[in-house]
C-alpha cells in the first residue's frame, strides 16, 4: 500500500522561476526512490503534486484536501506565506512539512523563543540555513569586505524586496545585525515579485548612496533590478538570498549579475564533482533520459530536501514501525550531522533537535561571475565555456545563538 505524500509546487506563479527547478528536484528524487529502492520499506510513495501558483490560500485549500481526503503523512512544501499559514494546521494534524521556505520563524520547534508572533512549529523542517541566518552570514562577510577594501566611514545597508512574507522574513534580523555591526541602515526599497522596470528603485538606491543591498525576491524580479541598476550605473554590492540568484538568472541578467554574492545550500553545483553527484545524476535522469540537462542549484537543494524526508520515513518504518507523521518527525531527530545516504559531498550535513530546527548554521557564500554575452547558448554551454561561473567566496560559520532562534 503506497504512502501518500503531498508535494506543493509553484510552477506557474510569481516564484515559478525557482519553483520549477526545485520542484523538479523533489519530484525526481521521490520518483527515483520509487524506481530504485521500491519506495520506503517496500511501500511506494504516492506523490500528490499540486501547482498552487504561489497563492497561499490555494495551498491551504489543497492542504485540507490532502489531509481530509488523501490522508498524506508528510508534505513537501514551498513558499513562506503558505508554510507559515499552515504551521497551526500541520501542528494540529501532526504532519511533517518540509518546506522550501527557510523562514526563521519555522525553526522555533518548541516555541521557546518567546518572540511575539512566532508560534511553535514542531512539524516544520527545511534544508539549509534560514533566510535570516544566511543574511547574517552575508552581513558578516560584507563587514569583512568593507574593511578588506579599506573603505572609510560606515557602510550603508538597504533591504530590498516585495512586501510579502518571504522577502520580509529576514528583514528585521538583517537590519538589527547590520546595526550591530556598524552599518547605517537605509529605508527599505520595495519592488514587486514580478519582472518589471525598476529604474526608479535603482535611482533611489544610487541617490541614497547604499553600499550593500539585500535582494529579497526570487531571481526573476531580481534580475530586473540588476539590469536597471547596470543601466543607471549604480555601484552597489548586491547580496542575493538563496532563491535570489542562480544559473538561469545569470543568463537572463547577463553581465548585470556579475558580482552578486549569494548563499548556496549544497556543497557543490552542477558540473562539479563529489561522491554524491553520481546519485544526483541518476536522479536527474528521471525526467531527462538523455542526461544532458543542466540542473541549477535549486534542483540540488530540492533533491537534498526530498531525500532528508525519505530517510526520516525510513527511520520511522524501521522495525515494522508505522510511517506516521509523528514518527517521521522523530526520524528527523535520529541523526546528527546528517547527510542522506548516497548524497555525500552534495548535501551539507544538518542536525535537527526537538526544540531547534535550524538544520545548519553554516553559510556558504558564492559569487556570480558573468564575463560575456549570455543571450546565445544554453546555460550548460555558458557554464561549460566559463562565460558564467559560480565562485566560492567564503564560508561563514555562525554561532548557534539561542536569541537568534525563531527570527
Amino acid at each position: 500500500q503506497p504512502i501518500p505524500v503531498g508535494h506543493l509546487m509553484d510552477n506557474s506563479g510569481a516564484t515559478s522561476d525557482v519553483g520549477v527547478p526545485y520542484g523538479q528536484g523533489v519530484a525526481d528524487a521521490l520518483a527515483w526512490v520509487n524506481a530504485t529502492r521500491n519506495g520506503v520499506n517496500g511501500r511506494r510513495l504516492n506523490v500528490l503534486g499540486f501547482d498552487y501558483g504561489y497563492q497561499a490560500p490555494r495551498a491551504v485549500a489543497q492542504y485540507q484536501a490532502w489531509v481530509n481526503r488523501e490522508r498524506v503523512v508528510a508534505i513537501q512544501g514551498w513558499g513562506t506565506a503558505d508554510t507559515e499559514a499552515l504551521v497551526r494546521f500541520v501542528t494540529r494534524d501532526r504532519i511533517p512539512y518540509i518546506s522550501a521556505s527557510y523562514s526563521a520563524a519555522l525553526t522555533d520547534a518548541a516555541g521557546r523563543s518567546g518572540r511575539q508572533g512566532v508560534e511553535a512549529a514542531p512539524f516544520n523542517f527545511f534544508y539549509g540555513p534560514s533566510y535570516s541566518d544566511a543574511l547574517r552570514g552575508m552581513l558578516q562577510w560584507a563587514k569583512q569586505d568593507w574593511e578588506r577594501r579599506g573603505q572609510q566611514g560606515r557602510p550603508r545597508y538597504v533591504h530590498m524586496g516585495a512586501n510579502h512574507p518571504y522577502p520580509n522574513s529576514p528583514k528585521e534580523a538583517g537590519e538589527t545585525l547590520a546595526r550591530e555591526l556598524g552599518f547605517e541602515v537605509l529605508p527599505a526599497i520595495q519592488f514587486a515579485l514580478t519582472p518589471g522596470d525598476y529604474t526608479a528603485q535603482c535611482l533611489t538606491l544610487r541617490n541614497q548612496g547604499a553600499h550593500y543591498a539585500y535582494l529579497g525576491n526570487t531571481a526573476g524580479s531580481n534580475i530586473s533590478v540588476l539590469r536597471a541598476c547596470q543601466t543607471a550605473g549604480v555601484q552597489v554590492q548586491f547580496l542575493g538570498n538563496v532563491w535570489g540568484m542562480d544559473e538561469n538568472a545569470m543568463k537572463a541578467a547577463g553581465t548585470a549579475a556579475n558580482g552578486v554574492v549569494f548563499p548556496v545550500r549544497t556543497a557543490v553545483v552542477w558540473g562539479q564533482d563529489a561522491p554524491g553527484m553520481q546519485t544526483v545524476r541518476q536522479i536527474s535522469r528521471q525526467s531527462d533520459q538523455a542526461g544532458t540537462a543542466y540542473r541549477p542549484v535549486h534542483y540540488l537543494a530540492g533533491v537534498c530536501s526530498a531525500m532528508l524526508m525519505v530517510e526520516a520515513m525510513e527511520t520511522a518504518a524501521q522495525n515494522g514501525g508505522e510511517v506516521s507523521g509523528p514518527r517521521i518527525r522523530d526520524g528527523f531527530y535520529a541523526r546528527q550531522n546528517w547527510v542522506p545516504r548516497g548524497l555525500e559531498g552534495v548535501c551539507v550535513p544538518v542536525t535537527y533537535t526537538a526544540d531547534d530546527h535550524r538544520g545548519t548554521m553554516r553559510v556558504a557564500l558564492y559569487r556570480a561571475v558573468v564575463t560575456g554575452d549570455t543571450a546565445q547558448g544554453s546555460v550548460a554551454d555558458l557554464m561549460r565555456a566559463g562565460t558564467m561561473r559560480i565562485e566560492p567566496v567564503a564560508t561563514i560559520e555562525l554561532e548557534r545563538r539561542r536569541d537568534w532562534l525563531g527570527w
Binding site: D51, Q55, P57, R58, V60, Q64, N68, A81, A85, N163
Partner: protein, 355 residues
Amino acid sequence: MAVMTPAGDYRTTYREDMTIFPTLGSRVALWAGIALLCLAPLVLDRYLLHLLINIGFLGIAALGLNILVGFTGQISIGHAAFFGFGAFASAWLHDVLHVPVALAIPLAGLMTAMVGLVFGAPAARLKGLYLAIATLAAQFILEDFFARAQWFTGGVAGRVTEPFGLFGIAFDRDETYFYVVLAFVVVMFLGAANLMRTRDGRALVAVRDHYLSAEMMGINLAYYRTLSFGIASFYAGIGGALYAHYLLFVSVEAFNILFSIQFLGMVIIGGLGSVMGSLMGAAFMVLLPEVVQGLANLLAGSPIDRALRLGASISYLREMVIGAAIILFLMFEPDGLAHRWRLIKAYWKLYPYSH
C-alpha cells in the same frame, strides 16, 4: 405576439401571478431540490461537498455582482476585493473582537456593504467602462490596504481563523459546514429574487435600461447606483466571510484581480440579470478546473501525455483549457447559461409547436 404563456395557465389572483416560481412544477422542483441538497452530506463524498460549498459561497458573491452588473448595469472589476474585505472582516471580528462566528458573518457583510457604499458613492457619477476601471482602481487600492493594515488583516502574512460554531457545535467539516452555506444560499437568493420583483429592484433595472427616463419616473439615480454597490458588497462580504470560515485562513493573495475577473466570468457565463444564473455561473467556474484536472488524470501515462509532456506542464494546460473553455462557451452561448435554460424551458413548453 411575443408573449408565451403555457396553456393550462389558470392563475386567478395577482398574488398567484406574482410568485417567483410561476408554475406548480417549478415550485415542486425547488422544494425537491432543497430537500435533496439537505441530504447531500449523507451521500456525497467530501470532494463533491467541497465543490458544492465552493459553489455556494462563490454563488452568493456572484449574485451580488450580478445585482450590480446585470441588474443595474454597472460593471465592476473589483468584486474580489469586497469579497476579501468580508473575509478579513469576519476573521477580524472573531479573532480580535471575539464575536462569535455566526454573528461575525452577517456583521462582516454589513461592514463590507459600508465599504461598498464608500466606493460606490463617487462611482455613481461614472458611466460604463469608466466605472469599470474605477472599480479596478478600487481593487488595487483595497489590496494595498489589505497588505498594509496589519491590525485588521494580519498584513501580508494573512490571518488564520476558526470554524463556524453555533450552540457549541463546531461546523468544521465539509459535512457540517455544507448546511451553513446552504442556509445562507437559500436566504440570500430568496432575498435577491424578492428584491428584483419589488420597487427598488425594478428601479435598479430601470436605471440600467434607460437612466434618463428612469430619472423622470422619479427614480433617484445616485441613490440607486450607490445602493446597488452597497447590496453587491453585502453579498460579496457574506460570501467572503463564509469562505474565511471554511478555509480557516485569509490572505490578501487570494483576492487579486484575477479572482475579480473570475467573478465577472461567473455572472456573464451564468447570465447577466439572472438570479439563478449566478449560481450556475459559479458552478461553471468551480467545476471547469476540476473537469480539466480529471481529464488530465485520465490521460496520465497515455501516449498523448508522453508526447505533450502533460505531467510537467499540466498547470499551463489547465489554464489554457480554462481560457479556451470560457472563449468557446461565450462564442456559442453569449447570453449565458440562464438564457439557454430559458430557451430550453420555452422549447419544452411549446413542444411540439416550437416554431
